[in-house]
């Protein structure tokens, strides 16, 4: 297993390199630069700006300097948009917020999703199944930008229990986590139900029952392990998405997370911030996919580390 992980980690190096290189050049070729504005700056000012941010150097030299700084110093450079902050500082500032929102949402998604999914599978074709499956279907169909404002209108404006937006106190975490968690819960519920139904028909479940195992043990010990496989495959990219922040949720609730920085950096042509967030996201995605592979082998004895 260690060899498998080591090989996969080594494989990520060229992948990351290609991603960084492609991003570096693609963002530079997008029309408009960091200093493009409706009230255009004069040519002499533009020259000063380009010199100050080393944009007057040849592109290959900027690329080499950037790579050197990132590889040897772990320095993602100063932000183009926010001159008094470095990209490292911005990420260190925003990532914990996105992580906190992501982990809370994930907890809600798993708790609600797994419960609904298992209930629906075990009580298949009963009213419980219909209620759980409908709830999951509604969760998938209602987008976050509808659910979020609905929760705000109800619980913040009508009942006055929460703030409508912001990220100051623990209570401010409730509505955004619930909004983001519900959507993922819906997917988890559907995948769990499907996975469980498939497993519950297998011979080894019948064997377990025949050997006199209780229904609780059959479901939680024998069936759930196999039934979770589709959920685990889904969770890899989902966790990456959920942890790195959600642009929509962060905007609806005005949360200072990384998701908004990522999107806005592209609009601002903040070259270094775009690259910094892309590197981080790519590394997270690769890392979590690896974790999913490891988890799948652990859950499914038929798979091996090859």
């Amino acid at each position: 297993m260690l060899r498998f992980i080591a090989r996969r980690v080594l494989e990520t190096i060229p992948v990351l390199f290609i991603i960084v290189t492609a991003t570096f050049f693609m963002i530079r070729f997008v029309p408009g630069g960091p200093f493009t504005a409706e009230k255009a700056v004069t040519p002499e000012v533009m020259r000063n700006l380009e010199r100050a941010y080393h944009l007057d150097q040849p592109l290959w030299q900027q690329y080499a300097n950037y790579l050197g700084r990132v590889i040897f110093h772990g320095d993602l450079g100063p932000s183009f948009k926010y001159p008094n902050r470095t990209v490292n500082e911005i990420i260190a500032d925003k990532l914990p917020v996105s992580l906190e929102l992501g982990l809370l949402s994930l907890a809600i998604a798993l708790a609600v999703g797994l419960t609904l999914g298992v209930l629906a599978a075990v009580k298949r074709n009963t009213w419980i199944d219909y209620v759980c499956s409908s709830a999951a279907m509604i969760g998938i169909c209602v987008p976050t930008f509808v659910l979020g404002p609905l929760l705000v209108l109800t619980f913040a404006i009508h009942f006055g229990w929460f703030n409508a937006s912001g990220w100051y106190t623990p209570i401010d975490r409730v509505l955004p986590s619930l909004t983001l968690g519900c959507v993922y819960a819906a997917y988890v519920a559907r995948l769990t139900r499907g996975g469980m139904l498939e497993v519950l028909n297998q011979d080894y479940i019948r064997t377990a029952r025949a050997k006199g195992a209780s229904e609780t043990r059959v479901i939680f010990h024998h069936a759930l392990r196999g039934g979770l496989l589709p959920v685990v495959s889904f969770l890899g990219p989902a966790i990456a998405g959920i942890l790195t922040g959600s642009f929509v949720i962060e905007t609806i609730f005005q949360i200072p997370g990384l998701g908004r920085e990522f999107v806005n950096s592209a609009f601002n042509r903040d070259y270094t911030l775009v690259l910094g967030t892309v590197i981080l996201y790519a590394a997270l995605l690769i890392g979590l996919n690896l974790a999913v592979d490891v988890a799948q082998v652990w859950l499914n004895p038929k798979l091996k580390f090859e």
Partner: protein
Amino acid sequence: MRKKRSSGWIGSCALLCLFVAIHSGCKRTDSAAPAQQVLRISQRNEPADLDPATASLPDELFIIRALSEGLVAPAPDNRPSQPAAATSWEISPDLCTYTFHLRRNARWSNGEPVTAADFLASYRRVLTPATAAQKAPLLFMVKNARAFATGQLDNFQAVGFRAPDAHTLVVTLEQPQPRFLAYVASGPWIPVNPRVVAQFGRTWTRPAHFVGNGAFTLAEWQPHQRIVVRKNPAYHDAFRIRLDEIQFIAFDSGDTEERAFRAGQLDVTMAVPFSKLDPYRAEHRNELHHASLAETRYLAFNTTRAPLNDVRVRRALSLALDRAKLVDRVVHGGQEPAFRLVPAALRDGDDRETRLAGEIREDPATARQLLADAGFPGGRGFPRLELSSFVSTPVTEAIQAMWKTELGIDVALVTREARVHVAALREGRYDIGFITAIPDVADAANLLGDFTTGSPANYPHWSDPRYDELIARAAHTPDAALQAGRLREAEARLLAECPLAPLYFNATNWLMRPAVRGWHQDPLWTRFYQDVYLHED
């Protein structure tokens, strides 16, 4: 084993219930205590920095002007600049030398006296090429300032700033300039404490380091969350300031902001979502506020491309537009139709009400005739041009329909990302572009100068020697009234040649709790916090 598994599962469900229960039982927190005067304002754009030298957006100056003040400050209601760090000033008879007398009791927020040398060091910093100050050209009227900023001159002694003593600053101009004080009131003229900047470098604007000479000091800056400024007891007019604290709370979305206002988390919003304008007009009139802005939305015609290189075509397109209808039925936010380029706030007193000869008024019959004269009778044979915009707006759709109805021509609507749009206009890769003319200071020359040959904001890529000459002559006219007259002449020339079609003068709508009193803002987005206070009925 069996028991452990199921109890773990039940346990996690119970934990979640507990989490929800605890939180739903909590009281929401409101940071404003009733006895304190705390004003909560929405901040739409996160400031790039709070350095007056490099600030380029009004949003940054919303905060910077609370923290620091220049020699003079803009005055509300279009009045001339008012004393700020300077109590008085003298103007030499040739209008080339301004002598500012600084306040003797002025202190930085760290207790140091504010001296003329600090102003000198600040202006040197703005003009130093390595500072890369975007708005440095607002100092270029000063003798040799441009040469220093472009690196042609190394010796700052030769630039027209002098400090004969600690409380006197003498500024010498390249040439007489009647509107100079409007420039002195602009952002880059606000000083910084040179010792603090030298000590902390690019991080001097962080709350732990920030030092200003304004009515408030920087207490907190949580990026994309909030910026808090507190009353500065060292400020010379501190006795006048009634607010203890201003919180600039970040809001990227107008809808989120409006919900926060309704939930009581905000006192002043930045805007009102379009769909909410009518409900507020009907039900909460006392919370809805409106102000005109010195910004002109216009259509730039790419004069380097056929058939837009023909003035008859450009004029026909401009005359076919019903601006009043556009404003009343489409934009619908209290904007004024623009029959000329220069907004009222930039005009002299007597020019504010009068009509300019050559204003563009709706005239479809003449428009059709002009189009026919240009070789496109009834719009036949007219190529399908693109009308591009940085935002998907019903305005361009209405324009498309008006041209179809009145002239029989078809244009395609294109929406581009904001910077892509501006870059396309800048590089002349467009046909007709929807854009805004924004002045930096209350001076018509600042706006009209954008359309001289080679100016970077000359999006129509229009070049007219007569217009260039009129603008240059106005710049060399020392008399204010005479200069205004020449600028009017230039504007009339611009309207006759139609490199652009003005549409409407922008306006802003915002929501404000009735408890907020003494709120003033001017058409250039300057806010005046000095007289603001909260009074609950």
